[in-house]
């Protein structure tokens, strides 16, 4: 029964990440010049199925962008394993990895910076084909075809990126990424820099591309409404960890991690009446620094649920230097990501129950 409801068994897994960790810094060039080490991504496990969209949300410093770069091996992981179509890509050579990049591509946040300003659009889109040995005679027609697919006129191939608007440039970035028909596309905040009306155009375009080609997306963003719109499942990251990973509708309707709930309640919604009647969960402080991680659960200094649990009593509490009493487990024990019957995951000692969100 539980295995049936698992959901992840249905389709074939494309990407499997286990125990992935990336530590920045930690050693300086000169002995004694040690820089503080930052656990940008810390023991992350997740998988992406063929044709699926996995959303990754989190605030600045949550490690979501680092995660995307680790998958593409633009950064080398400190620990852990990344398997793409069953092949472990963590240890393979640079040359071999470059070949694999035809199957895994990336769209970047900054539509202005991610295109070489001295190259014409046609050359930008054709570049991956040149690198990966597409037959020369067919490159020109394929370039035109791809530009057309992303809604640009093939005649635009002759112009420079600076002649385009932000939305059009993001289309160029997408064209470059889909030029080789990849199986996985990592989208790093692809619409964050765009105006709302243009953002909608790009989201629809990404949908169309996925419907046509069956490419899987890892959609990294901080706008929760956008992530909900495009994703099948969503992982919420906090200080390098996945704190909740769940089916989209369940995550938004009944978040189980207090951080997810706080995040959702902080997003204002464009509906006058609903927005003015909403209650907000006050988040205490700001996301901490990954150089000085809190003990136990990383979220405990900001957590409202931990405060509620401690006030209600019935659990052993410890008192922080600030005088705040919180459940001892939150301060001492790092919660692991636990799978529930529905196949969703949460890493919390006291996950929210449906009636919690009402308060």
């Amino acid at each position: 029964m539980t295995v049936e409801a698992h959901g992840t068994n249905g389709a074939e897994t494309l990407l499997q990440i286990s125990g992935l960790t990336k530590v920045f810094g930690g050693k300086g060039w000169l002995p004694g010049a040690r820089r503080p080490s930052v656990h940008a991504v810390d023991n992350v496990n997740l998988n992406i199925k063929r044709g699926e969209t996995l959303g990754i949300v989190g605030e600045t410093g949550s490690g979501k962008s680092t995660l995307g770069r680790l998958v593409l091996r633009l950064l080398d992981p400190t620990k852990g394993r990344i398997a793409f179509e069953g092949l472990d890509i963590t240890g393979i050579s640079g040359g071999r990895m470059r070949q694999l990049r035809s199957d895994m591509q990336m769209v970047f946040q900054d539509p202005y910076g991610s295109l070489d300003p001295r190259m014409k659009v046609g050359a930008i889109v054709a570049e991956p084909m040149h690198v990966h040995g597409t037959e020369h005679s067919s490159i020109a027609s394929r370039t035109a075809d791809i530009l057309h697919r992303v809604g640009l006129a093939p005649a635009m191939a002759d112009r420079y990126p600076h002649e385009f608007s932000g939305g059009q440039r993001q289309r160029i970035g997408i064209a470059r990424a889909i030029a080789l028909d990849p199986k996985l596309l990592i989208l790093d905040e692809p619409v964050s820099a765009l105006d709302v009306s243009v953002q909608a155009q790009i989201l629809n375009l990404l949908r169309d591309i996925q419907r046509q080609s069956g490419v899987a997306y890892m959609f990294i963003a901080h706008e929760l409404a956008v992530v909900r719109h495009i994703s099948d499942r969503i992982a919420v990251m906090y200080l390098g960890r996945i704190v909740e990973l769940a089916h989209r509708d369940r995550l938004y309707a009944a978040p189980r991690h207090p951080y997810t709930a706080s995040l959702l309640s902080a997003v204002p919604i464009p509906d006058l009446k609903a927005e003015r009647q909403r209650k907000r969960i006050a988040l205490h402080g700001e996301i901490g620094s990954a150089t000085a991680l809190p003990s136990g659960c990383r979220f405990h200094p900001r957590c409202f649920k931990a405060r509620l649990v401690a006030e209600k009593g019935g659990v052993a509490t410890s008192t922080l230097p600030s005088g705040l009493a919180l459940p001892a487990r939150c301060i001492d024990t790092d919660p692991t990501l636990v799978e529930s019957a529905s196949g969703d995951h949460v890493a919390c000692h006291f996950p929210l129950e449906p009636d919690d969100t009402a308060t």
Binding site: D195, V196, S197, A200, V226, H229, I269, P270, L283, E286
Partner: protein, 353 residues
């Protein structure tokens, strides 16, 4: 008769109407131009807006709509070689455009001040935040060093920076983005201005921090009785914080009214499209989003008629929209204005749908 009178009073109670409060800041027919290769480009085109005491006016629009430039014009900071070519900017009835540069500098800070989007570039990295706040105070009157420092600490406390006595000696890089934005807000309110203009104050910040910063602005607005202008592209923020809303497109205000009027009785097709192109946080469906086709207008080649006509789901191709510039008309209620030839049809169409 009686019924109508009570209704009227009710709306006045909910939202201060024009009769009750005099505008603190009023822009009248403001026009700002940049020189272009083929004649001047009109970036702000005949903009008239009112900001009332204790209220928040939200100015919404896409990049290039002229929303930032409108208020840079108002405070005399239009980047060269642009300049204001016509109109009036009335602060408590006095026209700021008639001031000398020195008088204008004096007015910025005491009368009107502005908080910008990027909290890092707004602060000078080589001075402590205390010194930078003190500089604002000392630029507008002789304050002693110690007095300025004391005031700075008080201001940091006012914007809820923890441990202000110690933080006052921090350099900008020692603060998080949210904290830096608080410091910039402290600098902007240091001289208790009548109007605070916040230009996308939270775009560079995370949602949880964004919520905190905006709550702070709302609190300060109430405590000081300031009028606030919130320039943003986030309709959620508008819904949460605005008393009045101005929607800008192609350098013009296309819709203006109380938040209630604009949200509940939307009277311009562009505003309708904006609402529909935003993905929803709680929709179960995930159909394609409604988009606004095409590109924002190029200020170098604005059409003779309505600037939105080429992208409009409603008026596209109509002769009137193509050739005649729509006048501001009163829509659902007094003080709700729209610049659309067919807003009346729009309303019925929307209620049918």
């Amino acid at each position: 008769m009686d019924q109508a009178a009570t209704d009227l009073r009710k709306t006045e109670d909910q939202r201060p109407g024009p009769g009750r409060t005099k505008p603190v800041l009023e822009l009248r027919n403001l026009v700002t131009q940049l020189p272009g290769e083929d004649g001047p480009l009109t970036i702000v085109n005949d903009v008239s807006l009112k900001v009332l005491a204790g209220e928040t006016l939200s100015v919404v629009g896409e990049s290039g709509s002229g929303k930032t430039m409108t208020f840079l014009s108002a405070i005399g900071l239009v980047p060269k070689p642009g300049r204001v070519v016509a109109g009036e900017v009335l602060l408590d009835g006095a026209d700021l455009l008639k001031l000398t540069p020195d008088e204008m500098r004096e007015t910025r800070g005491t009368g009107i001040s502005m908080v910008f989007q990027d909290p890092l570039t707004g602060l000078n990295p080589v001075f402590t935040i205390g010194e930078q706040i003190a500089e604002v105070l000392r630029a507008h009157g002789s304050v002693s060093r110690t007095e300025a420092r004391e005031t700075a600490i008080g201001l940091l406390e006012r914007v809820h920076i923890p441990d202000p006595g110690r933080r006052v000696d921090d350099y900008p890089h020692q603060l998080s983005g949210g904290m830096r934005q608080r410091v910039l807000i402290a600098m902007a309110i240091a001289l208790e201005p009548r109007v605070l203009i916040a230009d996308e104050p939270t775009t560079a910040l995370d949602v949880t921090v964004q919520a905190q910063v905006l709550e702070l602005l709302a609190e300060l607005r109430q405590d000081f009785g300031m009028a606030m202008v919130l320039i943003t592209h986030d309709l959620g923020l508008v819904a949460r914080h605005a008393d009045r809303v101005a929607v800008m497109y192609g350098g013009r205000v296309v819709e203006y009214g109380s938040a209630e009027a604009v949200f509940e009785h939307t009277a311009h097709p562009y505003t309708v499209s904006l609402f529909e192109s935003v993905p929803s946080l709680d929709a179960e469906t995930s159909d394609d989003l409604r988009t606004i086709e095409g590109q924002p207008p190029d200020p170098a080649s604005l059409p003779a008629g309505c600037a939105f006509e080429p992208r409009c789901f409603f008026g596209q191709g109509r002769e009137e929209c193509k050739t005649i510039l729509p006048k501001r008309a009163t829509a659902s209620m007094a003080d709700h204005r729209t610049a659309c030839h067919f807003y009346a049809e729009l309303d019925t169409k929307r209620s049918c749908a």
